[in-house]
């Protein structure tokens, strides 16, 4: 594999990983490189991203993981972006978080983050401030994490009488199909057992 291809793969992987980042092991595994080879590759890339003025992202290392981040000197422009949606509408991050809470409530922040794959403090905060979600209790067990659920106002905004009026998720609709394939494997298994 030539070095161009390697660099492209690393960029693609880091991009997909988002702020979960990638360990050196994961990079070595994906590229089939030794540890020292991937360390070298990563320092080359770090330098390249850093020194290229036409690039807006760089490779940072947090907690032994490589991840892509925007360059610091762009923060003014990103702030503009943050302010650009009208204050009364939710960002994509906000909508995603709200959707997870609506469908999976009661749910902890960690559970939301597992589904989204990114930190979710900000959106949860915004949703609380806007009265769309609220704390509905504490999780049993260690940590006793806060559980979130939607408010009456949330239903109000969407014009719903109660939560049962939320449209069904595709997963629920496709459960029937899943059962079919389960049945298929069930009978395949039975058939095989009878044979043996």
């Amino acid at each position: 594999m030539d070095s161009h291809k390697q660099k492209a793969i690393v960029e693609g992987l880091l991009f997909t990983a988002g702020d979960a980042g990638l360990s050196r092991d994961q990079i070595s595994e994906a590229l089939n490189l030794s540890d020292s080879e991937s360390t070298d590759l990563m320092s080359t890339l770090q330098e390249q991203y850093m020194n290229d003025d036409s690039r807006g992202i760089e490779i940072a290392v947090f907690a032994e993981k490589y991840q892509l981040v925007t360059k610091k000197d762009l923060s003014d422009y990103i702030k503009l972006l943050a302010d650009s949606p009208s204050p009364s509408s939710l960002t994509q991050a906000g909508l995603e978080t709200l959707a997870i809470i609506a469908y999976k409530q009661p749910v902890t922040r960690v559970q939301i983050e597992e589904v989204r794959g990114v930190k979710t403090d900000g959106p949860v905060h915004t949703l609380l401030a806007r009265g769309l979600i609220k704390e509905v209790g504490r999780n049993e067990g260690a940590g006793r994490a806060i559980l979130y659920g939607t408010t009456d106002e949330f239903l109000d905004y969407l014009g719903l009488k109660d939560l049962s009026q939320l449209p069904p998720l595709p997963e629920d609709l496709e459960e029937d199909e899943k059962e079919d394939s389960d049945l298929f494997f069930e009978s395949l298994k039975n058939g095989l057992e009878q044979k043996n």
């Binding site: 693609g12 992987l13 991009f15 997909t16 990983a17 988002g18 702020d19 979960a20 990638l22 360990s23 092991d25 994961q26 925007t70 923060s75 990103i78 702030k79 972006l81 943050a82 302010d83 204050p87 009364s88 509408s89 939710l90 960002t91 994509q92 991050a93 909508l95 995603e96 709200l98 959707a99 997870i100 609506a102 469908y103 589904v115 989204r116 794959g117 990114v118 930190k119 403090d121 900000g122 959106p123 905060h125 915004t126 401030a129 806007r130 769309l132 949330f154 905004y157 969407l158 014009g159 449209p167 595709p170 494997f185 395949l188 298994k189 058939g191 095989l192 057992e193 044979k195 043996n196």
Partner: protein, 251 residues
């Protein structure tokens, strides 16, 4: 065990008709009504498990076919020749139009499927959390949420692929790769001179393992590395390696 043709194999009576027309190599613009309604009836009789909600649609079509057939058998009437109705209507015309219209969208569905799978090769990332940049707004304004936006956001999220958690947190789960099963299966088959039975390829009766084994077999067939045979219905399926075997009919 009873042999049943699954009605699910067809998307409806039009789909079944198109299938028959193609299979019988019939000209769609000149459908021999007697043949087609006979074939159609045979098919829906074979589909002994008729699901209640779709069965009626198949039966209505059977009746339509009969009615067209009988209208075509009627001796042609000497009709009044009228300016705006120069030609006698073909009783099949409406059906043919429907079939052609349906075929168009069936093909379009294939095109969309292609787009779907092409798009699925592109990976994306979630939007960054920008709330640290913007001040919490204390407007009296109501937050606007649209149900469609909410569903759209959720689906986008579900579509997004995530990088797996690092290996250390995955110790409990054993991953079986299709590639690995393919190699194991090939080794099993090649280590014997005689063909192996299909069920031998599923030694571990666990769902994930069986699924992977099944996919591995399919992939091997696709790559033409193994050959699958069955003497007659319900007899044991046998598997052999294609290595060193010249396929019948090939020079």
């Amino acid at each position: 065990m009873e042999y049943t043709v699954k009605l699910d194999a067809f998307e409806g009576p039009l789909d079944l008709l198109l299938h028959l027309i193609q299979g019988l190599e019939i000209d769609i613009y000149d459908i021999p009504m007697a043949d087609i309604s006979e074939q159609y009836t045979l098919y829906i009789k074979a589909m002994s498990v008729l699901e209640l909600n779709t069965a009626s649609e198949y039966l209505v079509m059977a009746a339509t076919l009969m009615s067209i057939k009988s209208r075509m058998l009627l001796p042609k009437q000497d009709e009044q020749w009228e300016e705006d109705q120069p030609f006698e209507d073909d009783p099949r015309e409406e059906l043919v139009e429907k079939l052609i219209e349906y075929r168009k969208y069936k093909k379009a569905a294939t095109d969309l499927k292609e787009k779907e799978s092409e798009r699925s090769l592109h990976y994306t990332k979630p939007p960054e959390d920008l709330s640290t940049f913007s001040q919490p707004v204390e407007t009296g304004e109501k937050t606007q949420i649209d149900l469609h936006d909410l569903i759209g956001a959720f689906n986008k999220l579900m579509r997004r692929k995530k990088i797996k958690k690092p290996m250390s947190t995955r110790i409990t789960r054993q991953e079986i790769s299709i590639e690995k099963r393919m190699n194991e299966i090939l080794t099993t088959i090649k280590s014997h001179k005689t063909p192996r039975s299909f069920s031998e390829l599923f030694p571990i009766a666990e769902k994930p393992h069986m699924v992977v084994s099944f996919l591995a077999v399919l992939e091997l067939v696709k790559r033409q590395e193994i050959h699958i045979m069955q003497d007659h219905n319900f007899s044991e399926i046998m598997v052999k390696s294609t290595e060193g075997v010249s396929l019948v009919g090939q020079p």
